[in-house]
Assembly symmetry: C2
Homo-oligomer: 196 residues x 2
């Protein structure tokens, strides 16, 4: 049942939990659901983890560390403004393809989890994401490739919503590749927010 031979039992449990959290939501997934899917009793989960919260915490922290590392690479690169926006969009759809459960958890449960002190970093990451995109769009305007007659705050929200909510319908291994989806969205977006 391990995805890879070297995967420890703990990693396997985290992967199982992530799948269930993504599918049914964090609050609606019981520790008995997770244990059943792993073929053990619910109490046995507490040999590996402190609590249900600890599981989703570990899942989200790892994921966001990776994701924002990639954002930073794009920001720090010497690509032109238009290509940076393109890369950021492609990164989103690739992430949905490879880390679907984590994206879904962040999309669906960040609001609920954000109520707890322990998950305060979720709001920080949200602000960071906004900062990344505002930088990209501003650079685009300064470079003269992005229209300046648009409300840039709204443009950010539209892009963020479209690229991340795709996790609701995108299925890895299906007919659509992340590249094809990104191509199509960029065809609409770039013709829309750039002139010429």
């Amino acid at each position: 049942m391990p995805e890879t031979a070297a995967e420890s039992r703990r990693e396997e449990l985290l992967r199982i939990a992530a799948g269930l959290f993504a599918e049914k939501g964090f609050k609606n997934t019981t520790v008995r659901d997770i244990a059943d899917a792993a073929g053990i009793l619910s109490g046995s989960l507490y040999h590996h983890f402190d609590s249900k919260e600890s599981m989703v915490d570990e899942i989200l922290v790892r994921f966001q560390t990776e994701l924002f590392g990639r954002y930073d690479e794009i920001l720090a690169s010497d690509l032109d403004a238009r290509t940076k926006i393109e890369q950021a969009v492609r990164l989103s759809f690739e992430t949905i393809d490879r880390r679907g459960p984590e994206v879904a958890i962040f999309q669906n449960d960040a609001g609920y989890l954000g109520n707890f002190d322990r998950f305060a970093y979720l709001a920080d990451r949200n602000a960071q994401s906004r900062q990344v995109w505002m930088t990209l769009l501003t650079e685009g305007i300064e470079a003269g490739v992005v229209r300046k007659d648009l409300d840039i705050q709204l443009v950010y929200r539209f892009i963020r919503d479209t690229v991340w909510v795709a996790v609701r319908w995108y299925r890895p291994g299906g007919d659509l590749t992340p590249d094809h989806v990104a191509d199509q969205y960029l065809a609409i977006l770039l013709e829309g927010i750039t002139h010429g």
Copy 2:
């Protein structure tokens, strides 16, 4: 506490429940939450409603009847293809403005509720929404206003995601009007999916 003087107690309870369902999700809202917000005990809710499910059922059926009635008006009108698409987009943002809780419930809980036979109509309404948009986009292509080099299925998903997920951040009575938001999105969308 009634929104209008003529509002019956029953209507008031439904409105309170809708607000809580939208904010915390259907499953995460307890009958005690609803009763507390209404200033009564949880058991007293069962004088007005059969079950918690009945409440969300009534909320969703009413909402969808109204919404799809409006879609049908647009489809049946003699407006040109481009204007019909424009109206459909405006309808979404206006609906988020006036019926925010209902939109949020449909967006967040349709997946979970759809597991029960009682809510099978949710999937039907989803298919109906898809049909409406595919008709609008196809008419647009036939009229020569919409580009035909795009994957029309993906275009539909992008539009649907963006216009409805806006319920997550749009706040009625704030700085943004539904018309302004619609203007901005249409500025991006139409320049992107139409030629000329």
